[in-house]
């Protein structure tokens, strides 16, 4: 158990280092579905973003 704990602490430290380096370029929001999965940048960011931008893309 001690080995697992030490391993986890090392893993956690490494993970935090990576996330701090990544800044806001990392998306931890999980899998994207539907239009979020096939529309590039602006609309892919979030459900709210895609919903909110629906007006702008309505006439595309």
């Amino acid at each position: 158990m001690l080995k697992i704990f030490i391993g986890f602490v090392i893993f956690a430290g490494l993970a935090m280092f990576v996330i701090m380096q990544g800044g806001d370029s990392l998306d931890m929001g999980g899998e994207k579905h539907g239009a979020d999965a096939v529309h590039a940048p602006a609309e892919a960011a979030s459900v709210a973003a895609s919903a909110a931008s629906a007006d702008a893309s309505a006439a595309k």
């Binding site: 893993f11 990544g22 539907g34 590039a40 629906a54 006439a59």
Partner: protein, 552 residues
Amino acid sequence: MATLDVDRPMSAEEKKVIFASSLGTVFEWYDFYLYGSLAAIIAKQFFSGLDEGSAFIFALLAFAAGFIVRPFGAIFFGRLGDMIGRKYTFLVTILIMGLSTFVVGVLPNYASIGVAAPVILICLRLLQGLALGGEYGGAATYVAEHAPHDKRGAYTSWIQTTATLGLFLSLMVILGTRTAIGEEAFADWGWRVPFIVSIALLAVSVYIRLSMNESPAFAKMKAEGKTSKAPLTESFGQWKNLKIVILALIGLTAGQAVVWYSGQFYALFFLTQALKVDGATANILVAVSLLIGTPFFIVFGSLSDKIGRKPIIMLGCLLAVLTYFPVFEALTKAANPDLYAAQQASKVVVTSDVNECSFQFNPTGTVKFTSSCDIAKQVLASSSVSYENVAGPAGAPATIKIGEVEIASYSSKGLPADEAKAKSAEFKKAVAEALKAAGYPAKADPAKVDKVKITIILTYLVILVTMVYGPIAAMLVEMFPTKIRYTSMSLPYHIGNGWFGGLLPTTAFAIVAQTGNMYNGLWYPIIIAGMTFVIGMIFVKETKDVDIYAED
């Protein structure tokens, strides 16, 4: 078969069983997060050349890959697992998963092979969805059938920790590649590396799984010729078992799923989209809380061996129901106190013809909400504004009143693209200026973000996740007999998590836009978790002392 308990440490064979099974679920999560993190790049590589009609169809197929196909995979591979064995079935699922992920990494893009590229990509996603549907049930069943009677909760809880492991693993590989080759090369070809790297995970998983023995319970059943000839009929065609499947869904996995999605994904979404905390800070705070919370999967899994699965899962659901509103309100005060103050001080009113207001539920992302009412509400909801709805005259365009300023909304239906964009920009600018004047912050002030308090709140939410998710695998396994266990437990798990959990973000947004209160999205997880609590308390029986081999 491990039936009698002795108070002994985990054997080397048992450790290997847990490791081999967990590796597959790490794969599942690794892939899940790869597609999330790289969605924008993948969309650009494979879908950017499509016309609007084709993009619509691919959006529906991408939705199907996530939501529809997995339950079919649960049924398909569950049936196989109950007929030919756990070992070979989840060997097949991981092979399909791993090879599909790898092929994405070497698949030519739209620029190279045209429409064949997105078609093949979607086919691979559908294959992955099928395999995913069979993976979790196999892993949980396999581990549980190797575990001593009174340690099934502890042993299976290791599988539950793999969500965090998969997340961080994917982030490490993505960022490692980015750092090594640079942003430009990553967007061009480097994004393929994380997919190709998965072949190494696959090789290790297959090697280990090949060396494993079949589950002793299934091997015994097969040797005696007692395996089910028709697992689907026995699982879902006979009321005696079907009612337990339904109870497992609405009395367990539905509530577990919404608590999980709320604690991890919705909390992050709420921080960045509603409270306007910058992405980097939100990622760090969520990551810290996930890392603090992860050991609690083991804690609650082990505890469930002593006090029962049901009390822990039900308490997790109950706490979610009772505390989500105050906890998310506390999150607002800690992350963006200026927004909280503005919400209390400024009255915003949307006046609209109620007949042109939609419930903006848009799970596939393909519906366009174009009425003046819908556009007004989208803009306000995205700005985290609490507003009051007032019925206006029929046919009149909606208006937004912020303090003394009144802004007329517009309908984008039938407008040319350029005009729609211009009107959208003009309208958003007017709303933003009025909101600014009313004290609404465009972003959370970094100096006022209370990181310690936010971390405590997020950790609490993650601990609720561990309460409902830690013991769930053991409980699902114990609800069904060996001969139809794989089939019966996989379906409620995937419908619960895929449908009830997966629809949380879009349902919550629709409720927020409809009602004008950014907390009202929480009604969705609260109602589902409440339903699970009530049904679970009344109808679901405790399973920790069940002899899972009694009917073998």
